[in-house]
């Protein structure tokens, strides 16, 4: 209608005739309506209508007459330009305005945007769903997910980046520059550089190896020296001392032979040393300690004398004697010494070159030899004096050496050969000498008995061992002596070290070092052997010399004594072997005894019977007890001494049904109790914990042990693998698309795409692979068959292997 109205208006303004027609039509319609009201159907009169309605003379149908008329069509101009253009525009505008909807409110618009954004964003985030689930379910996670290899920036770069700014720093830098110390790059001074260039690599290596070797050898020697120093055996030290002396003598001899002038110089040197020692008064018997020692020794002797002579001794006299003897001996011994021919070989143990006397051919050893070898306190005092004397008469020794040399030169064999021979001989001698102990014993026996050597008697203690000890214990004189002797030795030892360092063999590995250590052990034992050998060699020499027969005779016992000591040393282990058997026997006896004691102590206990009794008791207790409901006095007389009648008792004593058979019925050694144990209940789980659905599940989980006692190492490791592994000192970055392997299932395809787009080779494989449980793979339906899928089990297997 809205459309028609304006159309009508426009038409009205066009022509009046149309209006008349309209009125007629209305009238007709009205008539029709009225006739319809009457209810009767009227015959409709045929009506005439104008032909122009249907047919037009221009052969144009009028069918569109009923259709809506478009106003703009009416306004279509005949000529392209008309005045109605503006009207038409307005009309179009009006029409369009009616079609536009009302805009949304600002709030609502924003909300729509938000909702859309939220949906897309949550979808974006949702692609992590699978990864998250997988990580949550994973048995083990290893962090950081991406394990980078740490790179170390070189020092040069670090230093080059740094510059001196403070005055102090600048000053320091200035100094460094002045001395041409490198500040940044090569970290070597020009000199160092030059030296580096000068020295070829091989040379440097060789030198380094040498140095290493030298250092190693030195350290071994130090260790060895420390070890020997720590040895407490006096005997060992004594023997060592002697051997050293001998060694020194031998060396000196050799020197003498090879270069007499040097030997002489050496002697002089020694003399100097000795003189110094003497000047210092160190070794006189005036020392407090020495005196007390002397007194002690004397005291012992006196006691014996008292036994022998049965004479009461005057204390004062004694003291006099005590004080005097040293003096006496002081003057005595020189006399003796002057007469005595010192043993050139130094077998006596004193420094060999201190024994030499000018009066060589006047041997009177008998009196001297005894004390010297026995190292009795008295002898010790003697020795000191002797030393002095001997030292003053080095020439004698020299002569002796010369003599020896002369003898030797007679046989043209080389030194080494001679040595070999000597040693061989020494071995023979040793063998021969070994049965010395009896001889020694003989001597000992002889010594006290023979009244002839009263002096010796007085000086010699009863047992040689005792004498040895006594001789050893006075350290100061002996020590001093040693000092003199060792004063010589350091150079020798230094030489030895160098010698060792010049070995051909290299010490490179631990095994080498160990073998070296072993060698040292062997060496030390060898040395002990050597102690015997050279001396024996000397002896042989002396024998060769063919000196005075009596001297020989007198010397040999002394030697034998020396040997006897070693024999004693050797003999010791043999003695040690013996007691083992009786000890074992004793133990066995002890065991038996103990068993007996135990049986005795627990004689009254009959455990088996006790147990039986206990079981019987338990059985009795477990039996259901009859319930007694008998009330005395009901229905009959009651009172003290009256019992309820048997009938009543029968009636009211309720017997319970018998208990089911006991489970331990046929187990005589077991008592089974089915009572609830409160103490155990404190440790038991009372209700089923959450993740379990049935108590069987829980029990099963408890029953499987995880400890190494019940599982193999591998299984144990697997069972106890921690849930989360982190590396100390490593930053754990948040997860990122690169961390997720392309095997990441589900909608994570996009994640995978991203990873590929990122151009990374998906290093995350190591990161997430920690997850072993990937069972839900198949659960994701819309997932493509990712090629990497199969990789996961393999990885799993790897992990199993590595863990």
């Amino acid at each position: 209608m809205a459309e028609q109205d304006p159309a009508a208006a426009a038409a009205g303004s066009g022509s009046d005739s149309e209006e008349g027609e309209d009125g007629e039509r209305r009238h007709r319609r009205l008539l029709e309506a009225i006739s319809a009201l009457s209810g009767r159907k009227r015959r409709r009169l045929a009506e005439r209508s104008e032909a122009s309605g249907q047919v037009s003379e221009f052969n144009v149908t009028c069918k569109g007459a009923g259709e809506k008329l478009d106003l703009s069509e009416l306004l279509q101009p005949i000529h392209p330009k008309s005045k109605l253009g503006s009207v038409r525009k307005e009309l179009v505008r009006v029409k369009r305005k009616a079609a536009v909807e009302l805009p949304l409110s600002k709030e609502e618009a924003k909300r729509v945007v938000r909702e859309a954004a939220y949906v897309t964003t949550s979808k974006d985030v949702g692609k992590w769903q699978q990864v998250v689930l997988q990580n949550r379910r994973a048995e083990q996670l290893v962090f950081p997910l991406r394990q980078d290899i740490a790179t170390v920036t070189p020092l040069e770069r670090v230093t080059s980046a740094w510059k001196a700014r403070t005055p102090l720093e600048q000053e320091i830098f200035g100094l460094l520059h002045k001395t041409q110390q490198p500040v940044t790059d090569p970290l070597l001074t020009p000199e160092e550089m030059a030296s580096l260039q000068a020295m070829s690599l091989e040379e440097a290596q060789r030198r380094r190896a040498e140095l290493q070797k030298a250092r190693a050898v030195q350290s071994y020697y130090e260790a060895k020296a420390r070890r020997t120093k720590r040895i407490k055996s006096k005997k060992y030290h004594r023997v060592l001392k002697k051997s050293r002396r001998r060694q020194a003598l031998k060396e000196f001899e050799q020197l003498h032979k090879s270069d007499p002038a040097a030997a002489l110089a050496r002697l002089e040197e020694l003399e100097q040393l000795r003189m110094q020692e003497r000047m210092s008064l160190k070794h006189q018997n005036k020392g407090k300690w020495a005196r007390s020692r002397a007194i002690m020794a004397k005291y012992d002797l006196e006691a014996r004398k008292a036994m022998q002579e049965q004479l009461a001794r005057n204390k004062e006299l004694m003291q006099k004697v005590r004080v005097e003897p040293p003096e006496e001996e002081l003057c005595e011994v020189p006399e003796e010494d002057t007469t005595a021919l010192p043993v050139p070989s130094g077998a006596s143990g004193a420094n060999p070159w201190m024994l030499g006397k000018p009066s060589g051919p006047a041997p009177e050893p008998e009196a001297q030899e005894g004390p010297r070898d026995d190292t009795v306190p008295g002898a010790m005092e003697n020795k000191d004096e002797e030393e002095e004397e001997e030292l003053s008469e080095e020439e004698a020794l020299l002569q002796d050496f010369e003599q020896k040399r002369r003898e030797r030169t007679g046989s043209p064999e080389g030194l080494g050969e001679e040595h070999g021979a000597d040693e061989a001989e020494a071995g023979a001698k040793d063998l021969g000498d070994n049965p010395v102990p009896p001889a020694c014993a003989e001597e000992l026996r002889d010594n006290p008995v023979s009244p002839a050597c009263a002096e010796e008697l007085r000086d010699n203690p009863v047992s040689p061992a005792c004498a040895e000890e006594l001789g050893d214990s006075p350290v100061s004189p002996a020590c001093a002596e040693e000092l003199v002797s060792t004063g010589l030795e350091p150079p020798a030892q230094a030489q030895e070290q160098l010698l060792l360092s010049e070995q051909l063999r290299r010490v490179q590995t631990m095994e080498d070092v160990e073998s070296l250590a072993k060698e040292e052990l062997v060496e030390s034992s060898l040395e002990q052997e050597k102690l015997v050998a050279p001396r024996a060699g000397k002896q042989a020499q002396q024998q060769e010399e063919g000196r005075a027969g009596d001297r020989h005779a007198k010397k040999t016992p002394a030697k034998r004594k020396m040997i006897s000591l070693e024999a004693l040393l050797d003999g010791k282990p043999q003695e040690m072997d013996c007691p083992s058997l009786p000890v074992v026997l004793e133990e066995e006896e002890g065991g038996m005894e103990q068993r007996g004691m135990i049986t005795e102590a627990f004689a009254g206990d009959d455990v088996v019977a006790d147990f039986r009794r206990e079981k019987r008791k338990a059985e009795e207790e477990a039996k259901p007890q009859p319930v007694n409901l008998v009330l005395p006095g009901w229905g009959e007389w009651g009172g003290t001494g009256l019992k309820p009648s048997a009938r009543k008792v029968r009636r009211f004593l309720i017997k319970p049904p018998p208990a089911p058979p006991r489970k331990d019925q046929f187990m005589p050694h077991v008592i089974m109790s089915e009572k609830r144990n409160i103490h155990a209940a404190a440790h038991q789980v009372s209700e089923l914990p959450f993740p379990f659905e049935r108590h069987q599940q829980f029990e099963r989980s408890m029953r499987t042990p995880v400890g190494p006692t019940w599982n193999t190492q591998r299984a144990f490791q697997k069972l106890t693998a921690p849930r989360v592994i982190t590396r100390t000192g490593h930053i754990i970055q948040p997860i990122s698309a690169e961390d997720v392997p392309d095997t990441a299932p589900g909608s994570g395809t996009r994640l995978g795409e991203e990873a590929v787009a990122g151009g990374k080779a998906v290093p995350g494989k190591k990161a997430v692979p920690g997850k072993k449980a990937v069972p839900e793979k198949k659960a994701v339906p819309g997932k493509k068959a990712v090629p990497g899928k199969k990789a996961v089990p393999r990885e799993k297997a790897q992990h199993c292997r590595t863990r």
């Binding site: 924003k110 909300r111 945007v113 938000r114 909702e115 954004a117 939220y118 964003t121 949550s122 974006d124 985030v125 949702g126 992590w128 769903q129 998250v132 990580n135 949550r136 996670l141 962090f143 700014r165 403070t166 720093e169 404190a682 440790h683 038991q684 789980v685 009372s686 914990p689 829980f698 989980s701 408890m702 029953r703 042990p705 995880v706 400890g707 190494p708 006692t709 019940w710 599982n711 193999t712 144990f716 490791q717 069972l719 106890t720 693998a721 921690p722 989360v724 982190t726 590396r727 100390t728 000192g729 490593h730 930053i731 754990i732 970055q733 948040p734 997860i735 990122s736």
Partner: protein, 445 residues
């Protein structure tokens, strides 16, 4: 005649090298090793006891601030470096290995409200009460240089928090609105608003780095998308959320520390109800930080304690407190998952072990194996009453203990009242509301 002799394969008993361990043949016949459950139980018990004996989590206290510590930041590249800002505007950089302050900056007038380090670790940003955002170099100034910020941005309003993008040179501040800044510009790239209340904290998602979460003082949590520069959704809770933290391993999970003593873990796709409600604190929770493994988080509370919660558990597994520690304002979990740092009112930063009984330092392989075994045993027998009792025992200061008791009573009373109401009203008129839904007021799209 055949003579039987013992013959053994040397491969079975000869070591390949001297350094190998001697092979000890073992018989795993279960009959030879009886009572496995009982024995393992004893071991587990002992392990639990030892764990408790050695649970000494407190390592050290870093003192030096002259006012309460208001915020902290981790160095993204260095484990030993930690930054802290105090209420007097002072920023300190600490060396954790030396336990020393290595640098002090007077950064702001008034509070340092927030700070964050740039992802590359070369600089850091601070915001303060003086309406400025400042960028500082991480390195201390060279000799003769002055301690000056690289950039200073003067804003119109106070900024209350700042967080840096995890990969791009973009950071976000919050105050009256969330502003996203390009580092190179002095005006924000875009401002995101939804409602008009001060926003207390804003955090970038570490995984999907275009996502942001913020919490405002009109009790809501709003999520934003930086790409479309539009907010996404808003949740209104019963009470104000102080801060939130995204899970570094699970892109859509975040945890909000709330004034109502609880923490709420949300899945951002389903904000209608939280995934988990973590309740144990007895006062407002002020800060929360996730462990880098994403399995646990630590929360700092006004009740002078910090608690460690497993993500999937409603209650804490650990509570740390000391006599001198006051209201804990800020807390951080170090990036190696080993330590926890907390800054509190009384000007100290405290260093704790994340695992109270963990042995620090290098462990021998045998030690490690024993540790793993003990851990496994503890896990296996955790339901046994005695073990549980020992393992769960913690000491609490009396104040917290009493408050917990009080709150338990209150909760019980509330529950009873509701039960009674339900009992005496028409069935269905008083519905059961699950705990998770109780605290959510509305979700606004």
């Amino acid at each position: 005649m055949r003579v039987k002799v013992l013959s053994r394969n040397p491969d079975d008993y000869v070591r390949e090298t001297k350094l190998d361990l001697q092979r000890v043949p073992r018989n795993y016949d279960p009959a030879l090793h009886p009572f496995e459950v009982a024995r393992e139980y004893t071991r587990a018990l002992n392990a639990t006891k030892l764990e408790r004996v050695f649970a000494k989590p407190f390592l050290s206290s870093l003192d030096g601030h002259r006012d309460g510590v208001n915020c902290m930041a981790k160095h993204p590249k260095s484990l030993s470096t930690v930054l802290s800002g105090a209420c007097d505007g002072e920023v300190k950089i600490w060396n954790l290995t030396k336990r020393q302050c290595i640098r002090t900056i007077q950064a702001h007038e008034g509070f340092v409200r927030g700070m964050c380090a740039r992802f590359c670790g070369t600089s850091f940003f601070t915001v303060g009460d003086d309406k400025t955002v400042k960028q500082w170099k991480m390195e201390s100034p060279e000799y003769g240089e002055e301690e000056e910020p690289i950039h200073t941005i003067l804003g119109k309003t106070v900024y209350t928090g700042i967080d840096h993008h995890w990969k791009e040179p973009v950071f976000a501040t919050c105050g009256h609105q969330v502003d996203i800044w390009d580092e190179q510009r002095t005006s924000p790239k875009c401002s995101l608003t939804w409602g008009f209340d001060s926003i207390s904290s804003v955090k970038f998602n570490p995984i999907e780095t275009y996502l942001l979460g913020s919490c405002a003082s009109d009790r809501n949590i709003v999520l934003y998308d930086m790409r479309k520069s539009t907010p996404l959704k808003k949740v209104i809770l019963n009470m104000r959320t102080n801060t939130l933290c995204w899970n570094p391993m699970e892109a859509f999970i975040f945890t909000a520390a709330n004034e109502d003593y609880n923490l709420y873990t949300f899945d951002m796709r389903f904000l209608e109800s939280p995934v988990m409600v973590h309740m144990d604190h007895v006062s407002a929770v002020l800060d929360v930080d996730y462990s880098p493994t994403g399995k646990e988080f630590v929360s700092a509370s006004f009740d002078k304690s910090i608690r460690i919660f497993p993500v999937d558990k409603g209650h804490s597994r650990e509570v740390y407190h000391t006599k001198r520690m006051q209201h804990v304002i800020t807390v951080k979990w170090t990036s190696d998952n080993k330590y926890i740092l907390c800054g509190s009112d009384e000007m100290n930063i405290r260093l704790w072990k994340a695992n109270a009984s963990e042995k620090l330092g290098v462990l021998a392989p045998r030690e490690k194996a024993a540790m793993n075994y003990n851990q496994k045993l503890k896990e296996k027998f955790q339901f046994h009453p005695q073990i549980r009792r020992i393992a769960q025992h913690r000491h609490l200061p009396k104040s917290i203990y009493c408050q917990i008791k009080e709150q338990r009573i209150m909760r019980e009373a509330r529950r009873r009242k509701e039960m009674n109401r339900r009992k005496h009203s028409k069935p269905g008129s008083v519905p059961f509301v699950p705990e998770r839904k109780k605290h959510i007021v509305a979700v606004v799209k």
